[in-house]
Structure formats: C-alpha cells, structure tokens
Subunit: 350 residues, 2 copies
Amino acid sequence: MHRGTGSPIGLHRVVEPAGVLPQAAWRLDATPEIYDDEVRIAVERLNLDAASFRQLTEAHASPGAVRDEVVRIVGERGKMHNPVTGSGGMLVGVVDEVGPHSPLGLAPGQKVATLVSLTLTPLQIRDGLSGWDGHSEQVPAAGTAILFGRSIAAPLPDDLPPPLALAVMDVCGAPALTERVVKRYDAPRVLVIGAGGKSGSLSMAAARRAGASGVVAAVPTPDEADAVADSGLADDVVVVDARDPVAVAQVVTPTADVTVVCVDVPGAEGAALLATASGGTVIFFSMATSFSAAALGAEGLAADVTMLVGNGYTPGHAAMALDLLRTEPGVHRLFTRRLADLDLDMRVSP
Amino acid sequence: MHRGTGSPIGLHRVVEPAGVLPQAAWRLDATPEIYDDEVRIAVERLNLDAASFRQLTEAHASPGAVRDEVVRIVGERGKMHNPVTGSGGMLVGVVDEVGPHSPLGLAPGQKVATLVSLTLTPLQIRDGLSGWDGHSEQVPAAGTAILFGRSIAAPLPDDLPPPLALAVMDVCGAPALTERVVKRYDAPRVLVIGAGGKSGSLSMAAARRAGASGVVAAVPTPDEADAVADSGLADDVVVVDARDPVAVAQVVTPTADVTVVCVDVPGAEGAALLATASGGTVIFFSMATSFSAAALGAEGLAADVTMLVGNGYTPGHAAMALDLLRTEPGVHRLFTRRLADLDLDMRVSP
C-alpha cells in the first residue's frame, strides 16, 4: 500500500518548519513506507562530510560519544544534518523498494550511492551504529533512507571497491566545477588549497586536464606534501597554514588565476583572496566557508575576484570523477593513501 | 610624530588573534595616532549593514539597548563588526590627517565615505552615540576611524545629500556585479528578490541597462510592491515571502536566467535556486546568506546553477551606482522613500 505521490523535491517529508525545502528543514519524516514516486534504500554505509566529522570529533571527548551524537542527530532530525556545520555527507545502500512512479530508473537489488546530501535525505538508523568505532567518517550503518523524484543516485561501479567509489562520488562536484572554471581562462595558473584531500586531489587532476599552465598545491603538513609531490598532480607543493593569509600569499607567487578551496577548517577565505590575481576566480568547496568572511574579505582587500559557492551538482559529475580516479594514477594513490588508515573492506565485489 | 609604515592591508592593527586579516580579527587596535601610510577620519555618521541592524533590533528590547550594544561592540572589538551576522556597514566623515606615505590621494578637510566594510575599519567612538535614537541604521557618531594603504574611500559628491550618497555607496557593489553577470547572457530574464531595498533597486536598474529582457521584482508586502511598480524599474512585481521557495517558484514563471538576492532575512537560498533556470546564475548579496544552505541546496535540487558570493568591490562601482541614482528617477524615488522615514538632514550642502 502506497501513500500517494510526493513532491519531486521532497516537500511532503518536511515536518518542521512547515513550507521550507527538506535541506532547510529542522526535521524530516523518515518513515520507511514510500510514496509512489520515491525509492527506499537499505542503508549500508554513511560517509560523513569532512567538516562535519571534524567538528564532531573536536566537540566530543571519545569516539563513542561521537557515535552517540550521530545517532541522536538522526533520531531528532530524521536526517544526518550536523546542526553546527550545516553539512551532511552521503550514503551507500541497496535499492529496497521502487515506487511505481519513481523517475530515477533504479531497480531493487542495485547497489547505489546517493549524490544528494544527507542534509535532505530522510534517514532512520536501526542498529545504533553498533558496527562503527567512531574513528572514521565512513560509518557502517543499518537502516532506511528515502530518495525523492528529483534526488540523484548512481549505481556503484563494478570495478572499484565500494568505499573508494563512495569517497570519489562524495566530492565529485569539485572536479566538474573546477574544469568548467579553468576552461574560461587561457592556460591559467591554478592554486588548490587543501590539495591532499579528496576534493583537492580530484580538482588538481581536473585543472590540469582542463588546460591549467601550472598547478600549485597548498597542504598543511610535510607528510601530506610528500604524498602530493609523489602523486605528480602538482607542479609546486607548498606547506602552509591555510588560515594564515599572509603566509599563503608569500609562497604563492605569482598569484593564481583560479583558486580552489578544499580545506576542512574555517578561516581560509582571506588566504584564498590574497593569493588570487585581479580578474581571477575563487571556488569555495569547503563546507567550513563563511559567506560573510568571503564577501567582506574581498571588499576589504579591494579584490576584483569572482567568488563561487561550490555547487555539488554539475551534470555528469560522477562519471567524470570516477574517470579521473581510473585514469590518473596520482589521484588513485592519494585516495588509497587516505583510505588506508581507515581499515575498510577494499574488496571490489561485496 | 608617526608610528612608521603599516601594512597596506592593515595587518599591523590586528590585536587578536595574531596573523589574521583585519576582517577576520576579533579585535583591532583603533588608536587614533596614524602610521605613515594611513589616513585618520573624523567620523560623522555610521551606516550599519541592513542584516546587522535587523539582528540588533530583534535581539534587544529597546532602541536604547540597541545603541548600548553598538557602543559595547565597538569598544570591545575596535570596529563595528556584529558578532552574530558577521557584517558591518560603512561610515562618512571628514579627512582629519593624511600620513606622508598614504596612496589614497585624500586631503584634510575632504568629506568622504569609506567603501571598505566597518568589519575591518579601526574605529573609536567618543560620544557614546548620544545623537542616535537607535531607530535607524544611519547612526550619527563622533569618533575616529583609520584607513589603510589599500582601503577605499570616495569623496562625497557635491550634488547629493550626504545620507543619500552614503546609502547608495553602501551597496554599490550590487549593481556593478549585476551588470557584469547580466552581460554574460543574451537578453536574460532577471529576478531580483528583495527588489524594494537599496541594493535591489540599483540592481534592477543595472540589469535593465545591461540588456535584461525582463525584470521581475519580488517584494514582501503590497506597500513595497506599489512603490516598486511606481518606480518603473520592473516589468512584473510579485508579493511573496522569500523564505518560501515553493511560493516564489510558483509566481516566477518561466524561471529566471539571473537571480539577484538582496533580502536582509536568512533563508532565501532555496527560493533563489528553485526560481533560477538550469545554466543560470544566482548572485547572493544578502549578508544573511548561509554558505552551506546555498551549496547543499543546489546539490539537493540537482540545480545546475552558478552561485556567486556578492563581492562588494568591482572597479568603478561607486561612480556607476551614483550615476544610476542621478539618471534613473525610479531609483531616486525608491531611495528617498526609504530614507524619508528616517528624519535625516537631506540638505545637499553640509
């Protein structure tokens, strides 16, 4: 028995406040029973947004307390929407039921990743996250999630371990938008701040392919600098604190035409602006970005710079990011290095 | 006796935390004694940012309490930087002393407006704002402010009442960026959300001049709709709550190619995204914009939309905005209507 047809953007699942979009809602109705145009996913794994996981880890004394907080948030809000950072993440699961009017083209039994944020995905957790040690942003989970008519989900590729594919798809908006912006310039100089992370490594590869004349990688530690240098994705690697604009501007000379901000710490707006040339573009992918710090920082520096809010959606973004992973050994090395610490099941076939 | 040469971006005035830009600092050194490349302004009037003034008014019971809070913030931070909204405003004053190495080209006795935000302008208030009733964002004030080598200030025009010129220059980044974006499209349809306000009315005029094929004005009240209709700056005027994305999308059909967000309330991100066509651009000028709500909202709607952080600085922005005021009667009418409630001294010559 179905519940009728829902709104394609999920308005029918908003509990409070009334009338807002699911992303802006404080609480969603996460009931597993689907509407006619919805899809229910049997959840296997959550992938928390980096800024969210970092905040949770800093705010809670133990990994157990981090786990309890995630369970509490999902129970209270009907979605994994970190109230401090405003960010979520994504999930992997198996298609459980497809409503007769779902336009997504999914079939029961398919293993998929959701490409819309957890901040707007109705979610119920059934196992108290008992399989998660709270040490990593990849969270084994049992429960149910709901996809709306206009949600986006992609089947997991057969040739990649699921945690690796999930990690790539989580940030696939970054290389797609980086490519689009870099192509607007003639052989631009590109700076990637936070280059050693997931979105950073994909953005470096995308910038190079899109015609960058040089790629500068800014990273916080010598260890990460070694890894990025080893990847071959950057022409220069600098070790610098992204929260120190003067230091960043000193090591990035000449300034960049396109700067891509991929850090997971707040306070990188000034560095990005100071390191970018007049007429250049800054793309903010970091969920820790402050709108007012960016807007007023540019005005305060009299910086004639275009500032983009990193949009997580560009058509074809997942396929492009997976292609970069498959064809750029440097991207593959940085991703597997990052995932190596997490003790994940990296077998290709589940 | 001068204090040596400062940093052109004001780093020498940052007290804490060390090493950040003045805008990101918690506290600035607002000592009136200038460095060799600085300029001291004898402050006459502050113009608080609309989002900041609204927050202060909502958080404090009486106009007197609003005034006390502004005095307290400036005393504590050495600048008028609202800690809740992260925004500031601008000021008008008379050039008091010019350091021998200042590159700004100002002379003592000139009446100027600062075009950099109050969030990074060292400020001391001497009169406890005793001339301000706390009822309006235009704040008569006596005190001192400091301009750095790279700050921007513009002489007040001779032909306009200072409060009017100040109100225009406060938001002059909006029409300049709107013009630039509209010109990227071929006869685009433009939606201005919050069209009756200062940045909204200038943005409508700029969009029309830059080649918009149609301008839709969204305003919150019938009164404001009448005023905007009377201005002749819009082809359509709709009364709608900008925080209600579904309602906004229903009245804006077809969707806009360029959407300009000029409201002073939080929560307009979803409406802007839903009302904008695929391939379109949203420019967020509202200081109440949430970065994560914009980024995740676009992803959640699978919206292939370019989202710009409204930059308060574009070369030539003040001259362009003043020109719109002088040559577009509709802009002039909307500005004087807005200022009429404030009981200001509107004489041209001070």
